[in-house]
Amino acid sequence: MMIRCDRVTKIFRKNGTEVTSLDRFTAEVAKGEFVAVRGPSGSGKTTLLLTLGGMQRPSEGSVQLDRHDLYALSPAERARLRSSEIGFVFQMFHLVPYLDLLGNVLLACPGKPSVAVRQRAGGLLDELGLAKRANHRPGELSAGERQRLAVARALLNRPKLILADEPTGNLDSENAAEVIRHLVEFHRSGGTVVLVTHGAAAETHADRILRLEQGRLVAD
């Protein structure tokens, strides 16, 4: 089992008001599975993704990632696990604007990148059609190219899991299809994907679709 969530609840407190973003969410994702998460805005999809990625401690419940009880680990251990096992792709790309493309991909490397890692980063840029722009900065790329760059960064460490938060949300259909194609390739090579999406096209590739409403899992 890649992910096991047991009654995961996340409550945000703002200005004295409590908002339940995840409500006793319980689900499992097997290794090598491609899972799409759907739901209306505010249904807790991003919260779920950040919680699965060890970025947001749940108010209650537990998350197991590849047999590790994620939130029983220290922050440093969680950071190491995140670095080695998980790749993130976000809707807003979250690239570092002052680094060139190669620098952005290498950012995922823990420590100083070896020659082999640099070669892999160059290879990924090539695979994703960005090799000619390796020395450009993200600000010089189109939205589709930026998202492909984010995918390359997510793939650098050969993660077991990719968590993608509406990665096609800002892309036209052609670029969206291109990004989904890379996620599907990762899945076919044995990787696990959890994809938060509004797009129906992505669902056609998913093994399962989880539907969230008001933080609750209403369909699996």
Binding site: M55, R82, R137
Partner: protein, 383 residues
């Protein structure tokens, strides 16, 4: 990627933020350097100017009749020249001096002209203060003559002049001062002692900046007590106006320094801190993604503190160069009397170059900690 290369790239990317930080710190360094160098120059200038007004403390033989002393301007009694050594070496920490000079002063007649003949010892400089002797140095075989002496004796610079059986070269261009100096001949103490038949004798020790800077006690009483303990054979006369002028000048300078330096430091720390906060805000997404990629707080703090150190170092170099240039360029016109003494203060410049990066890092510490403690999930959900 190394931290430093990332920092350099970020500096290049957000040029304005780095530029404003750099300017703020460079100006602060320049102001500190300029204010210190000008304060030193101001002190030198004032000391030099007040020196020309005379010594502030006069030690004369104890048995001197003060009526005679004030009437003639010197004591008719003498004391041993070794007392100068005793005073210079035995003064305690309660009393400081900058310069001590022993003198032998008597009326004298040359070719029917009544003059004052004054022998001056070498100047004792306060130990460990590195100050140069003040006043004119009288070289062997030379004398300095007043304008009235020059006029009556028809002498000018480099002329030869006989005093008694001895022959001297006139070393100065006599200028009218409107003081007894116009009818005075200054010579080396040993020469004047021989001319007057008073070997190893002086009749006055003059001190400049001989001070006891206590605001709440009578400084003259303390000076008399301290000096009396070392030299019971003297009485102490203080030229209070001069002493007060020097003390006030020094206190004014210290007050200015007490205001300028902390103000500059606080202003530049606030400036640097605010810019660092702006930088952290601008980089929230970057911090978020670095966290998501498993980077620790140490690396994130290093990105911000490293930038502060780098900017601080460059700013210190620019500020030190700017401040030094300003002092060397404008100092001489501000302090014309002592302009030759205006120099680069290398130890201070080095201290500033070392201290500024540390100071910049301290000013950026709180923003850096804000960055480290920033919840990345908050940023990453702002899509």
């Amino acid at each position: 990627m190394s931290i430093w290369s990332d920092i350099l790239r970020e500096v290049g990317f957000r040029k304005l933020n780095a530029l404003f930080s750099l300017l703020g710190l460079a100006v602060a360094v320049a102001v500190v350097l300029v204010s210190q160098l000008l304060a030193e120059a101001d002190e030198r200038e004032t000391r030099r100017v007040t020196r020309d007004m005379g010594f502030n403390l006069r030690l004369i033989p104890a048995e001197t009749d003060l009526g005679q002393f004030y009437r003639d301007g010197f004591s008719r009694q003498t004391m041993d020249v070794s007392m100068l050594d005793r005073l210079a070496t035995q003064l305690t920490n309660n009393v400081s001096f900058n310069h001590l000079v022993g003198s032998l002063r008597r009326e004298y007649t040359i070719n029917g002209q009544n003059i004052l003949l004054v022998g001056l010892s070498d100047t004792y400089v306060a130990p460990g203060q590195g100050k140069k002797p003040m006043g004119f140095e009288i070289k062997k075989g030379t004398i300095h003559i007043g304008s009235q002496v020059a006029f009556v004796q028809k002498k000018k610079k480099d002329d030869t002049m006989h005093i008694g059986v001895r022959r001297f070269a006139v070393a100065n261009d006599p200028i009218e001062t409107g003081t007894p100096d116009d009818i005075t001949i200054f010579g080396r103490l040993e020469d004047v002692q021989l001319l007057l038949g008073l070997a190893q004798k002086i009749n006055e020790i003059e001190a400049i900046d001989c001070l006891c800077l206590t605001a709440d006690q009578d400084p003259l009483a303390i000076l008399r007590k301290e000096i009396g303990g070392i030299l019971p054979e003297v009485q102490v006369v203080q030229q209070r106006t001069l002493a007060d002028a020097r003390a006030k000048q020094r206190q004014t300078r210290e007050k200015v320094n007490q205001f300028v330096l902390p103000s500059v430091l606080v202003a530049s720390a606030v400036w640097m801190g605010l810019l660092a906060v702006v930088n952290v805000r601008d980089r929230r997404q970057e911090i978020g993604i670095l966290r998501a990629l498993g980077k620790g707080g140490g690396r994130i703090a290093a990105l911000f503190l490293g930038k502060a150190v780098l900017v601080g170092l460059v700013a210190a170099l620019i500020g030190a160069a700017l401040g030094t240039w300003a002092v060397l360029e404008f100092g001489p016109s501000l302090f014309p009397v002592t302009k030759k003494a205006i120099q680069v203060n290398w130890p201070l410049a080095v201290q500033l170059i070392v201290a500024t990066p540390v100071f910049a890092a301290m000013a950026s510490f709180i923003p850096a900690m804000l960055a480290v403690s920033h919840d990345p999930a908050e940023t990453l959900r702002e899509d």
